[in-house]
Amino acid sequence: MTKILIINLKKFGDIFQTSHLIASIKKKTPSAEVSLLCYGESYSAAKILKGLTTVHTIDRKKIISFFKNSIYSDGLAFNQIEKSLRTVLDTKFDKVINYSNDKTSSYLTSYLCSNPETKFEGIRFTEKQSISYSNEYSVIFNDVITSTPYTPYSFNDCQHLISDLSPAKADGVKSNKLHDQTALNNLNRLRKMKNEDISTTSIIGIQLLSGDESKDIPKEVLVRTIELIQASKEMIPILLIGPFPKERALANELNATFDSKLVSVEADFIALPSVLKSIDLVVTADTSIKHLCDIQDTACVEVSLGGAPLFKQGSNNTQSAIISAPAHMRNFKGSLGIGTKSDEYDINPNLVFHTARLLLGLSTEGFNFEDEKSIHCVYRPTKVLDGVVLMPISGPFNDAFEIRRLLCRSIVQKTLKGVLDENYITLIANRFEKAKVTKVINEEKEALSGVTKELLSTLRGLIQTQENNSKAPLFIAALEKLLSKCFDNSLSAIPAMMFRAKIESLNSNSMQENFKEVEGLLYELKDNLQHSIFTYSTIERVSQEAYTNKRKATSLDKQMDERV
C-alpha cells in the first residue's frame, strides 16, 4: 500500500483546494493512504476533507509563542517541532508531496525525505542548500507561475502535472446528514415564503468578508446587490457568516439597513457544507468559501478584488463565473492599482446580479453587460485537457494580453510534453479575431529572435571561455543579458525563466562541470525556443482555419438568406 503525505502549510482556502489533488490520487491509486500535514490553525478545514487517512498538525502558534515570549526557553520550540513530526517520520511515507512549496515546507520535505526510500514531489532543499525540483512542472510552479503575469497554469493544475495526475472530480467534504436535512428544510421554508413552488426560487448566499480588507466586496456594493436580489421574483438573499465578531457585526449592520428582514446563517466548517449543499449560488470575494463551493459543486460568482490571485487560485467550477478587472490591469500584490477598492473602479452591483441570474439560468441575455463606466470583466472556468482555464467572456479585456495569457499554457505544454492540445489552441483561435492573434504572434516572433540572439552570444562566450579563461567576463555579460529576458513582457520570458531556475540551482563541484552543465542548459533553451516557434505556427494555422470556416459559414448564411 502506497503511503503519501501532502504538506500544505497554507490557510483554509488552500487546504480545501487540496481536495482536488486527494481525489485525483485516489482515482489513480484507490488503495493509496493519503495523509496531510498542516498547521494546527488549519485543522478545522483539514478535518472535513474526504479521502485522508490522517491529518498531522504542527502547532505553529505554540512554537511561535515559545520562541517569541522570553519567559520560555527556545528549547521548547525546538522540542515542539520535533515532537510534531515524530509520528510523521515514524509512518515512513513512500512519497511526500510539497503542496505549499514555501521555504518551511521545502525544509520539512527535505527532513521527512531523509530516508532515501521516501520520494518527493514539488521542491525541496538539497544537502548543498540548492533547490531540487522533482520534475519540470515544479520549475514552472515555483519559478514561472510566480514570476510571469501570464500564469500558464493554476496552482491546482500545476500540482496535478507535478504529480502526473489527471484531474478527477473532487469528492466534496464531510458533512452531517442531520445537518444536511435541517439546512434543506430551513431553506425550503424560506423559498416557500417567496413562491409556493419552491423549485422556482433560488437562494443566493452572500459571503460577507474575506481575510483581507483589500479583497472584500465594498459594503455599498453588497447592499445594492442584496437589494437587487431581494427585489427579484426568483431569488432570496441570505448572509453567510463565520463565527467571528467582525462578520457578525457587519451582518447586523447590513441587516439594520434592511429593517432586519435579512436571514443570516452563521456556520463553522462543520455546518457550512450542509448550508452550501442547499443553496443555489454564492456571491463571494476571494475566500475559502469559494474553494469549498468548488469542491461541493455549488455555483458561485467570485468577485476578485485587491491582491486575490485570480489565475493561480480562482474558482475552478465550470458552473461559476469570476468578476474581475481585466487581467492586464490587475495588480496581484494588492497594494496599488486596479483591484483595490478605489471608488472609481467599484464593482457595479448590476453586473454581480446579472451574472448570478445568468448562471442560474434565469436570464438568456448573455454575459455582455452594457456599462460604459465599468472596467470589470467576466471570466469563466472552462475545462481543457489538463485542467481548467479562465476564459474571458465579457467586458473591456485586452485581447493581446489575454491571447498571451492563454497561449502561455500551450508553450509550456509543448515544451514539457512535446505535444500541443489542438482543441485548446482552437478554443483560443475561435475566441479572438485572426488579426489580433496574428499581431501578437508577430510581436512574439520578434521577441523570440531577440532571445535567440542573446542565447547564441552566451553560447559563443561560453565556448571562448572554455578555451581561454580571460574571456569569462564576456560570457558573464552575455549570460546577464540573456537572463534579463526573464523580465520581458513577452512570452519568450517563459523559456528564459525555466533556464534561469536551472542555472540558479546548479550544484557542480568544479568549474569544468559547471561549464558543461551551463552548455547543456543553453542547448535545452535553444530547443525550448523551437517549441515556442512551433506553438506560434500552430496557432497561426488554426486561427487561419477558424477564420476561413467563419467566412465560409457567413457566406453560406448569405446564400441561404438570398435563396429565402
Binding site: I63, F67, D74, N79, E82, F125, K128
Partner: protein, 219 residues
C-alpha cells in the same frame, strides 16, 4: 538567577482562626483571615467571578493554606465541569511543607502546586510551561503576592537564557538533543540559525532547524 524570596528569610508561624482553621503567618503577615478564612476566600473568588466564566485555566500566585484554591476549584467545576485546570506558584518551601503536614485543604488532581525558590526552575517545569503556553488567567492571592511581590514580578518578567546548551534540557528526542549538543558552547538560537544557513553541507536535523527558523520568522 537565584532570587531570594521575602518569605524564605522570614519566620513562619501558624495561628488558629476563630473558625478553628490553621492560618499561616509569615514575617508577621497573615496570609488568610484570622476570623474566617473560608468566608474571606469565598469573597475573593466572588469578586473575580467574571474572569472565570470564559477562563477555565487559572494560574494562582500564592498557596497560603489553600482556602482560596478550594473555593476557586469549586467555582470552576460548577462552571466548566471537569474542563478546568489550576496551577499554583509558591516560592516558599517552608510554607508548602507546612501545608502538606497540616493538610488544612485538599484539591483534586486538576490542581497542581509548583514550588521552587528559584524563578528559572519554574520555567523548567515542563507541565507548568505547557500550561502557561495556553495563556491561563492569572490570579494573584493578595496577601501572598504582597509578601513576595518582587518574586512574582521577576516571575512575570523572566528571560530564559537563549543559549542552545540551555535549550537542550527541553528536547525530548535523543537524536535531536545530540545534534544540538554539537553547537559551539554559548551559541544562541539566532546564532545556530545563522550558522546552519551558512553550512555547505546539511544533515537531516539541519533541515528541521531551518524549518523552525523559517516558521518563527515568516509573516
Amino acid at each position: 538567577m537565584k532570587l531570594s524570596t521575602q518569605s524564605s528569610t522570614q519566620e513562619l508561624n501558624v495561628k488558629m482562626s476563630k473558625t478553628d482553621q490553621p492560618v499561616p503567618v509569615l514575617g508577621g503577615v497573615h496570609l488568610h483571615s484570622i476570623y474566617n478564612p473560608d468566608r474571606e476566600a469565598e469573597g475573593f473568588i466572588s469578586a473575580n467571578e467574571k474572569n472565570f466564566k470564559e477562563e477555565s485555566q487559572v494560574l494562582i500566585f500564592g498557596l497560603g493554606f489553600g482556602y482560596h484554591i478550594s473555593k476557586l476549584e469549586a467555582r470552576l467545576k460548577a462552571l466548566h465541569g471537569d474542563e478546568y485546570r489550576i496551577f499554583v506558584i509558591e516560592p516558599s518551601k517552608e510554607l508548602y511543607q507546612r501545608w502538606k503536614d497540616l493538610r488544612p485543604t485538599s484539591f483534586s488532581s486538576r490542581v497542581k502546586i509548583v514550588q521552587f525558590e528559584n524563578v528559572k526552575d519554574f520555567f523548567k517545569d515542563k507541565e507548568l510551561v505547557e500550561f502557561l503556553s495556553d495563556k491561563p488567567h492569572v490570579l494573584p492571592h493578595p496577601a501572598s503576592f504582597q509578601l513576595n511581590e518582587s518574586f512574582y514580578k521577576s516571575f512575570m518578567s523572566f528571560h530564559y537564557p537563549t543559549t542552545i546548551d540551555e535549550s537542550q534540557f527541553f528536547v525530548e528526542s535523543e537524536e535531536y538533543s545530540k545534534y544540538l549538543s554539537q553547537a559551539p558552547e554559548g551559541e544562541s538560537t539566532e546564532e545556530i540559525f545563522q550558522r546552519v544557513k551558512g553550512k555547505s553541507f546539511l544533515q537531516k536535523h539541519d533541515f528541521l532547524t531551518l524549518a523552525l527558523s523559517e516558521m518563527v520568522t515568516e509573516k
